[in-house]
């Protein structure tokens, strides 16, 4: 382990993962993120609000009045005091994250088309947004001013992730292109081929799939891109989950991370856990699943079936808890440890 490797939390054992809490919203959920302070989980819903749940007691607070569409993406200032929501209305809205009666602090008409992904730079100064207008935009998080508009994606931008080194940003699109951007210059610094995550189905005449999520461990050893493949019937949800694992230095593909017996599934989000395990949140006709891969093996070593189809997940700053957003209106908290008495 190098100095950048995270400390493995006490009791950490993904094979003992179990749901410890669930709280219900008024609509099916579409997104979820923990705040950096680890007090709350915020959820976007099939409505125009963001819902905040207090992890201590499940108390819910709505964030209304910011959007005219669903909130697909959430991000935070480094200290957790400001929450940024990105909606299908192309709007970025800044909120006081801890407010009892939240109101929009700042609204920016940021993109023409859905904002699908947000991220905060490791130093907390920059916010990145990726959208259906095929643009990635970099914003000064404190002032809300645009720093860069990064053009070049040929499809909708589905995902983005700041590299832990703070120098580059990665963004993935529908066509399976994974772009690497130099943050200082705003120029393209490289491209990874993630086309196995894209399907053009000729019979149905549809493009499908895309880079649904990107993850990079703190030491930068790997780059992972998640989504789906074997989309024999995109319109009918027949496809299998897939994660492409690349070497972080050489940027060559290391292996495909696969599953057995999941014929209806897509990876909505991936996160590296403290021990280097890759966690994937999978939803589809096979239900909601947490999948755990070791990076030196092709198949998942463990999986946890959740009570309902999953649409997003996040890893708590403690490295031990996972939030998952579900169609049945629940956000669920899973603990990656054995049950306590």
């Amino acid at each position: 382990m190098n100095s950048l490797a995270p400390t493995i939390p006490k009791g950490f054992d993904p094979k003992q993962a179990h749901v410890v809490a669930q709280w219900k919203a008024d609509h099916p959920l579409v997104s979820c993120r923990f705040d950096p302070a680890g007090r709350y989980v915020f959820c976007g819903v099939e409505g125009s609000t963001v819902e905040r749940f207090n992890l201590a007691d499940g108390k819910r607070v709505s964030f209304p009045g910011g959007h005219e569409s669903w909130v697909f993406a959430l991000a935070f200032s480094k200290d957790g005091s400001t929450m940024i929501s990105g909606g299908g209305d192309g709007r970025l809205v800044a909120w006081e994250a801890n407010a009892d009666r939240p109101k929009p602090l700042r609204t920016t008409e940021a993109h023409s088309g859905w904002i699908r992904a947000l991220g905060t730079s490791p130093d907390g100064k920059l916010l990145a947004s990726g959208a259906n207008d095929r643009l990635v935009k970099i914003w000064d998080l404190a002032t809300g001013k645009q720093v860069h508009a990064l053009a070049g994606h040929k499809g909708h931008v589905y995902s983005l992730e700041f590299h832990p080194d703070g120098k580059t940003l990665l963004s993935g699109d529908l066509q399976g292109e994974l772009a690497i951007w130099d943050l200082a210059s705003g120029k393209r610094a490289g491209t990874l081929d993630a086309r196995p995550l894209h399907t053009y189905e000729g019979g149905q005449q549809v493009d499908f799939g895309g880079v649904r999520s990107i993850a990079i461990p703190p030491d930068g050893r790997f780059i992972a891109a998640g989504g789906l493949y074997k989309a024999s019937n995109p319109l009918g949800a027949v496809h299998e989950p897939l994660v492409l694992l690349y070497d972080g230095k050489t940027q060559k593909k290391v292996r495909d991370l696969l599953t057995d017996n999941i014929t209806g599934g897509v990876i909505w989000r991936i996160r590296f856990l403290a021990d280097g395990t890759l966690l994937g949140g999978c939803g589809g006709s096979n239900g909601g699943l947490l999948l755990f891969w070791k990076t030196d093996a092709n198949k998942d070593q463990h999986r946890l079936a959740l009570p309902n189809i999953l649409r997003d997940l996040d890893l708590h700053p403690d490295g031990l808890r996972v939030a998952s957003a579900h169609h049945d209106r629940h956000v669920r908290i899973t603990r990656l440890a054995a049950k306590t008495a």
Partner: protein
Amino acid sequence: MKCAYACHSPEHRIARRGFLAGVAASAAGAAVGGLGVFTSPLAAAQLARSGKRIVVFNMHGGLSQLESWDPKPGTETGGPFRSIETSVPGIRISELLPETAKQMHHLCLVRGVNTSEDDHGKGAYMMLTGRRQSPAADYPYLGAVCAKAMAPADAPLPGHIIITPGGGGGRGNDAAYLGPRFASIALGNGKPPHDTTRPSQIDESADQARNRFGQHVNDRFLSRRRTSIAEAYVYSFDQAAKLMREREAFDVTRESARDQERYGNYDLARHCLLARRLLERGVTFIQISHSNYDTHNENFNFHIEQLGEFDHAFSTFVADLAGRGMLDSTLIVVLSEFGRTPNINLYYGRDHWSRAWSVVLAGAKIHRGVAYGKTNAKGTEVLDGQVDHANLFHTYLQAVGVDSTESFEIEGRDMPIADPASRMIKAVMA
């Protein structure tokens, strides 16, 4: 099958209840099919003068009315898209159709469609024949009806053309009792009909010689045994010869570079420009299929993708027809086999929903810049102006001057053009 008119008696072509009127009609137009088949000579004469046409956009798989013509933003069924203003104050459509919104003053939204049929095949049959499918009878599709009722018998191009998103060409099996000469000719991905170039190993003089011989043999056969099948056989050869002469009608690259650029460099755009080209050359009925809207999974992503294509091509087409003065004589229909469920399923999908959905009309005798019919707040039921496939079928035909309460005469029998138990939607007729 022996055709009743093998006895050479022209009155057998006329529906019995229109016998006297029909005699005049067939005397005026001696052709088999075309305008001569009408029981009403007045209607035939009107059609001959007007040169009316129909273009159907078939949104294959079932377009979501909530993502297009009847959005319900801010409701639990509304999905993530907003509605936008259109060129007609008070009428809003989905934000996925920004260019079409600018053409709203040409359009008529029919928002109260209830067809009560959630099966793809049955729904498509109903929407394109105006009848519910039955093992007891088969009915001709709208294109075949139009080709028979409206297309001049001596037209150089087929009267019933379907432009498909992919696949091959060939003839459809969609004319039922009207006979194969009115069946569709498919232009697979907008390509010209199959086998319309002379084989390279046959020179022109040899080709002419074999055609003369073929015609001689055909004439001899028909003089003794005239059947609908034999007639269709001869007609198909005549039509093939015409198609070979008119082949460039199908070559959309002969349109100006500016127009090709305006429409765009993708299949549906080319198909729309091809449709305009064919309309200008007198084709009576053209169906453009756009695929695929059967979005049980990720409905919103796929509607962004598909309607992005549709919006630009369709709005350009509508604006062009209006600008060229063709909209008065051309009916445009945008239909599907059904709509999609207000409920959003587990996979961000919408399923089949026929109880409350929308069809769009434009041009000919249709009121412009209106929305007829209303659904409830969640889009689950029709509240006002409920219509079905049969009402719509009557309306399509009446809008281009075909009296849909008339009958075709087929083998001495009256075959109602549209469901006689139904009627057109008067409120949308100008």
